[in-house]
Subunit: 343 residues, 2 copies
C-alpha cells in the first residue's frame, strides 16, 4: 500500500482535540502507510499529544491554524472571516496536493461552502452532495444515500448526477460490480412524486450507465433494495434525521420499560446481551463519515458528536476513498456520460 | 350526545368487510348515539353480518354500492369509471347530508381525488391535506402532522393554511387552548431550508392567529415540541413512512437478537412484558385514522392494513370530529383570517 496523507481538522466537532487526537493516534497505529496532518492550534495539539505520551513525528505532523469555525457560524461568514481556520487550512492542504483527503467534524454548512469554494466541483458536476452509508435489514448489506442536506432544491440533472456519483462510490468502495440505484419517492407507481423525481426516473431508466431499479418509499428505505438511494437534500436530511429520532425514541421507551419495576429490572439483566447486540448492529459510530462528493478533492464529514472510535472510522473512510481512487473514477464516469450525451 | 351518522366504505382496505363489519359492530356497541351506514355489496355485507349474528337495524343500515375501487387503481380512473363504488357512494352520503362523516380504508389517492371532486374544498382553502396523530417522547402528549402526502409541491399559502387547519383540529379534538405549531425543516437556524419553508415561517411568525414556535428537525419530530407539525406532502410522507420503516427494522432486529441462542430465548421470556408495553406505546392501531382536512365534509382515511381494533379507532376519530364541530371551526377560523388579511 502506498503512503496516504490525510489532513485532519483537529479543532472541529463538539469535543475538538480531546477526541480527535486520540482518534488520530488509534488509526495511525492500525495503518502503517497512513500519514496524518493535524490542523489546529499548535500549542493545544502539542499538549494533547503530550498528555497521551505521543509527539509529532514523521507520520503525525501538526500544522498550525490560528482560527476555528464555530458550530453555529453562518457558512458565508466563516468563508469570509475565517481564512486561517483549522477547517479551511485542512481543505487548502488538499487543494495544494499536500494531503489526499481531509476530515472534519465541524459545522457542515461551513465545510460544504469552504470545500466548494476552495476545491471547486468536478467537471460535469453542478453541485456537490452529502452521501453516507447506512445499515439495511439484509444481513451485512449496506446502502448509501444522497443528498443528505447540501441542496434543498434539486433539478433533474442534479438528481441524475447524484445517482452517477453514488453508483461510482458504491462500486469503488464496496466493490459492487454494478450497483443498483433507487429514487426515494412517496409511492412506487410511475404517476407518484413531484416533477423532478418523475423526470429523473425517466432519465435514469434510459441511461445504460446506471443500474436503475425504480422508486423506493420511506418504509422500505432500509430494506436493502438498492445499493444507492437518491433524493434531494431536503428530503434526504429529513429521512436521515427522522430515522435517528425514531431510533432514539425507541431506545428511550425500551429503557423506561426496563426501569419500570423490580421484575422488569431483572428482565433487563437477562436482556442486556440482546440489547447490546442490537445497538451494535445499528451503531451510528460504525457508519460515521459522510462524504462531500462531487468536489475536486476528498472531504469527509464526521458527525459533530463523534467520539474517538467514530472519528477514527471517518478517517478510515477517507483513507479507503483515496486508496480506491474514487475521485478519478467519478471524473471518468461523468466524462464518459457527457461524451455519450453529446454523441 | 346528539345522534351522529357516519358512512363507512365497507369494501375498502386489505381485508374489506371481514374487518370492517366487526369493527362497525364493536364501535356501535360502545356508543349509543352512533349510527352507521355500511356502504358496499349488499349481499356480501348481509352475509358478513349474519355470520356475526347481527343484522341491519335502526343504527346499522346497509347501503348498496355495485362497484369497488381497487387498491392500485389510478385516482383519475376511479373518479371516471367507479361512480357507484362503495367509496364514492359513502362520500356522496356526506355531500347529501345523509351522513356527517365518512370513513374508508381504500386507495388514498382515489379517496382524496373523489372527496375533493364531490365535496370541494372549504372557502379559503386551496388544497386539502392529510393529517394524522403521532405519539411523542413526552408522556401522553400527541402531535399532529400534515401534509402526509396529498400535495407533493406546496406553496407558502398552502403551508400557512395547513398550519391553520392543524391548529384548529388540535384545539378542537385535543382540547388544547392555543396549539403550538412548528415547521419541519433541515436546520433550526433561520437561514436553513427551501424558499417556501422560509417564507411560510415569516408568514406564521407574523400571524397572531397561530402560536408559531419555529423550525423542528427530523430528529426532534417526536420530541413533543409542538402540537402541530407542518410540511409539504412529499416530505411528510417520507418522514411518516421512514418512521414506520425504522420502527419495523428495530422490531426485526430485536426479534432476531432474542431468537439467536438458547440464553437469549430465555431472556425473551423475561423481557416479554417489557416488549409488550413498548409495542403498546407506539402501537400504530391506536393512531389509525388520518383526516382529509380542508374539505366541505369530514373524511377519515384508515390504514389499508387496519384490523378490527384499528378500523374502529378510525370510526371513533370521525365521530369525535363531528361531535367537536371541527368543520365549522376551521371554516370560521379561515374566514376570520381572510377578513384580517383584507382589512
Amino acid at each position: 500500500m502506498k503512503t496516504i496523507t490525510i489532513a485532519v481538522d483537529a479543532m472541529g466537532g463538539d469535543y475538538g482535540p480531546s477526541v480527535i487526537v486520540p482518534a488520530a493516534l488509534q488509526i495511525l497505529a492500525k495503518y502503517n502507510a497512513l500519514h496524518l496532518v493535524l490542523v489546529g492550534d499548535e500549542e493545544v495539539l502539542r499538549k494533547e499529544l503530550k498528555a497521551r505520551h505521543a509527539c509529532d513525528q514523521i507520520r503525525l505532523v501538526i500544522h498550525h491554524a490560528s482560527q476555528c469555525v464555530e458550530m453555529g457560524e453562518l457558512p458565508a461568514v466563516a468563508l469570509r472571516t475565517k481564512k486561517d481556520s483549522s477547517m479551511r487550512v485542512a481543505i487548502n492542504l488538499v487543494k495544494e496536493g499536500r494531503a489526499q483527503a481531509c476530515v472534519s467534524a465541524g459545522n457542515t454548512g461551513a465545510l460544504m461552502a469552504t470545500a466548494r469554494f476552495v476545491l471547486k466541483t468536478l467537471p460535469g458536476i453542478d453541485r456537490p452532495a452529502i452521501i453516507s452509508t447506512f445499515p439495511t435489514r439484509v444481513g451485512h448489506k449496506n446502502m448509501r444515500m444522497l443528498d443528505l442536506g447540501a441542496n434543498v432544491d434539486c433539478s433533474v440533472d442534479n438528481l441524475f448526477q447524484f445517482a452517477v456519483m453514488g453508483s461510482v462510490l458504491a462500486s469503488a468502495v464496496d466493490n459492487i460490480a454494478n450497483p443498483t440505484v433507487c429514487l426515494l419517492n412517496i409511492g412506487e407507481e410511475d404517476i407518484k412524486g413531484n416533477e423532478q423525481v418523475k423526470e429523473a426516473a425517466q432519465l435514469l431508466a434510459n441511461s445504460k450507465a446506471i443500474h436503475y431499479m425504480g422508486y423506493v418509499e420511506g418504509d422500505k428505505l432500509y430494506h436493502g433494495l438498492a445499493d444507492v438511494i437518491v433524493c434531494d437534500g431536503f428530503v434526504g436530511n429529513v429521512a436521515l434525521k427522522t430515522s435517528e429520532g425514531v431510533a432514539s425514541f425507541i431506545r428511550q421507551l425500551i429503557k423506561e420499560a426496563f426501569y419500570s419495576s423490580l421484575f422488569t429490572k431483572l428482565a433487563a439483566l437477562f436482556a442486556w446481551p440482546v440489547m447490546k447486540s442490537l445497538s451494535r448492529r445499528i451503531d451510528p459510530d460504525r457508519y460515521n463519515g459522510a462524504s462531500l462528493i462531487g468536489l475536486k478533492g476528498i472531504v469527509i464529514k464526521s458527525h459533530g458528536g463523534a467520539k474517538t472510535q467514530a472519528f477514527a472510522h471517518a478517517i478510515e473512510e477517507a483513507m479507503i476513498q483515496v486508496e480506491k481512487n474514487v475521485l478519478q473514477l467519478i471524473a471518468e464516469k461523468i466524462e464518459q456520460l457527457l461524451k455519450l450525451s453529446r454523441s
